[in-house]
């Protein structure tokens, strides 16, 4: 379970360009659920995901991740938690150009000090799972959008995370590939992964795999509009 209590993130604090990206969000997210954060751009979706994903620390408030308080952890430990717990799928895929698909997939595991041969096997298996194993030794520049998306997902899964975070995963995909992505996500959900998605694409938030939709506006949870997909076990803590 992931719990956010009154989480606030302020950028450029005490400077003229100070700006509050997340403003007192309190939430509880269940394990093995698919949660979608919905809202216009600038509503704080991405920032919220980066806070939950241990990429940044909140300015105030507390985040509990699987029973552990992570807000006061230094970057060094956040990273460790992050790479064991989370797999990230970015809006732009963010694959590293000039190296092969296989290398890209293995990249997050390099610092863990695993034997390269073991790692390679696992990466190939993942590529196989997403039907891109024939491209394993191709450089990423030559991939199509859909292939790049699948490689990015394989990369997110290389360290065996329990939580997948996807930031606008369909922004650069056509409808066909977006539907394909939903099917992949469904597969991951069946593998009992927790999935957090920031998206304003109806293909995603109207999909039947979504358990919960959180509406964000101006860095706050918009309580008035919890959306049709809100299921019974949704628990929305009162935001101040």
């Amino acid at each position: 379970m992931i719990t956010l209590a009154n989480v606030r993130k302020i950028f450029n604090q005490a400077r003229p360009n100070e700006y509050t990206a997340v403003d007192g969000v309190s939430l509880q997210l269940e394990e093995h659920d698919v949660t979608v954060f919905k809202g216009p751009s600038g509503s704080g979706k991405t920032t919220l995901l980066s806070l939950v994903g241990c990429m940044a620390r909140p300015t105030s408030g507390r985040i509990h991740l699987l029973g552990r308080e992570i807000t006061s952890l230094p970057e060094r430990f956040l990273t460790e938690i992050r790479r064991k717990t989370f797999g990230f799928i970015f809006q732009q895929f963010h694959l590293i150009k000039g190296i092969s698909v296989l290398d890209n997939v293995m990249l997050p595991a390099y610092p863990c000090g695993e034997r390269l041969s073991v790692l390679k096997e696992r990466a190939l298996h993942l590529l196989d799972l997403f039907n891109v194993s024939q491209k394993a030794h191709t450089r990423v520049e030559w991939l199509s959008g859909g292939e790049a998306q699948r490689v990015a997902i394989a990369r997110a899964l290389i360290n065996g995370p329990s939580i997948i975070i996807a930031d606008e995963p369909t922004a650069h995909l056509d409808s066909m590939h977006s539907h394909e992505l939903v099917e992949i996500l469904r597969g991951l959900k069946n593998d009992r992964k927790t999935i957090l998605i920031a998206s304003h694409d109806p293909i995603i938030y109207d999909s039947d795999i979504v358990d919960k939709v959180v509406h964000l506006r101006d860095g706050k949870v918009d309580e008035g509009d919890t959306g049709p997909r809100t299921r019974g076990h949704l628990q929305l803590l009162k935001g101040r």
Binding site: Q13, R57, P58, S72, L73, P74, E75, R76
Partner: protein
């Protein structure tokens, strides 16, 4: 001053290191003052990120001083031709009063930097950085040492006048004169050998028992420090003599030369490595009960104790091999 490439290299590199360490100290103070791990403020984040830089710099400083130590002795040794009466580094270090203090400081800084890195290693493993302030206060002790060392070294080389007549290691470390070095040289061989082997035996025993049970860490560390000193004295008193096969030659530097197969480097590296890792055990002792470190320090200490034992065993083996196979008969 003598315009030798190695001298320029040493001075230039020291200057760089000094700038780096001063930079680290400046941010060290900032960290000590402004550290608040609970805060997620950008200020705290900046400080946390500085620690990476300072760790990296200190690692470089540590490596630098190891090479610098040997290059210093080597360069000084090469200069013996320039000074009448000097036959190796020992004599050249005496040409003015800066030579030996510089060497001593280099050794101290090396050990200190090593210990700091050990503390840093342990601290970085705890999620709340519990000894961060102590750590950076320690850095403030290291900084003046490094700066002093640079000044002394520059002074040493600047004040070198080739017409100075110095004494060679033969008279410096020969028996029967009353200076500290000659007193070390004239220490009776048999009790010295006994002391040496006893200290090694005790170190190894305590090290292994610490590795097994994790007890008596302070005792082990103090023993290591004593064994380190005894070993240094032993090198002057009898180990070097066995290497030179010359009962009056006690110089601790000539063993670094080619004629003796550069064996000195192995001896000193083993000794310094053993000293740093062994003393590291003791330095970590006061912190082992800090909650976030209870899972980290004991295992680190055990590893360190093992490394120290291995280094000291290598040292003892090298020495013993030489004593047994030396042509010299000191003890009949």
């Amino acid at each position: 001053m003598i315009f030798h490439p190695a001298i320029i290299a040493l001075c230039v590199a020291s200057l760089f290191i000094c700038l780096m360490i001063a930079y680290s100290a400046y941010y060290g103070i900032k960290i000590v003052k402004g550290w608040d791990i609970k805060s997620g403020s950008e200020q705290q984040l900046v400080l946390e990120r500085r620690t990476y830089l300072i760790s990296a710099i200190l690692t470089y400083v540590f490596g630098f001083y190891l090479i610098s130590l040997f290059l210093y002795v080597f360069t000084v040794d090469r200069l013996h031709i320039v000074f009448t009466g000097a036959m190796c580094a020992a004599g050249v270090l005496k040409v003015n009063s800066y030579g030996y203090p510089t060497l001593l400081l280099k050794i101290m800084i090396f050990i200190f930097a090593g210990l700091w890195l050990i503390v840093n290693y342990a601290d970085n493993r705890a999620y709340d950085y519990p000894i961060i302030k102590t750590k950076y206060l320690l850095l403030l002790i290291l900084t003046p040492l490094v700066i002093t060392e640079m000044i002394l070294q520059a002074g040493y080389f600047l004040q070198m006048h080739p017409n100075i007549i110095t004494s060679c290691c033969g008279s410096l470390f020969s028996e029967g004169k009353s200076s500290l070095t000659s007193e070390l040289a004239s220490l009776p061989v048999v009790p010295m050998e006994v002391a040496f082997y006893l200290s090694m035996l005790l170190t190894v025993y305590l090290g292994i028992s610490f590795h097994r049970k994790g007890e008596k860490g302070y005792l082990f560390s103090v023993t290591v420090a004593i064994a380190f000193l005894i070993s240094l004295v032993s090198i002057i008193s009898f180990i070097s003599v066995y290497y030179y096969e010359l009962p009056t030659h006690h110089c601790p530097f000539c063993i670094l030369q080619k004629e003796y197969g550069y064996i000195g480097y192995f001896l000193y590296v083993a000794l310094l490595g053993g000293a740093v890792s062994g003393m590291g055990v003791g330095v970590l002792m006061p912190f082992r009960n800090i909650e976030s470190l209870t899972g980290i320090i004991p295992s680190t200490q055990r590893k360190l104790a093992l490394i120290a034992v291995v280094f000291f065993l290598i040292f003892t083996a090298l020495v013993t091999y030489r004593i047994v196979f030396s042509n010299l008969v000191l003890v009949s």
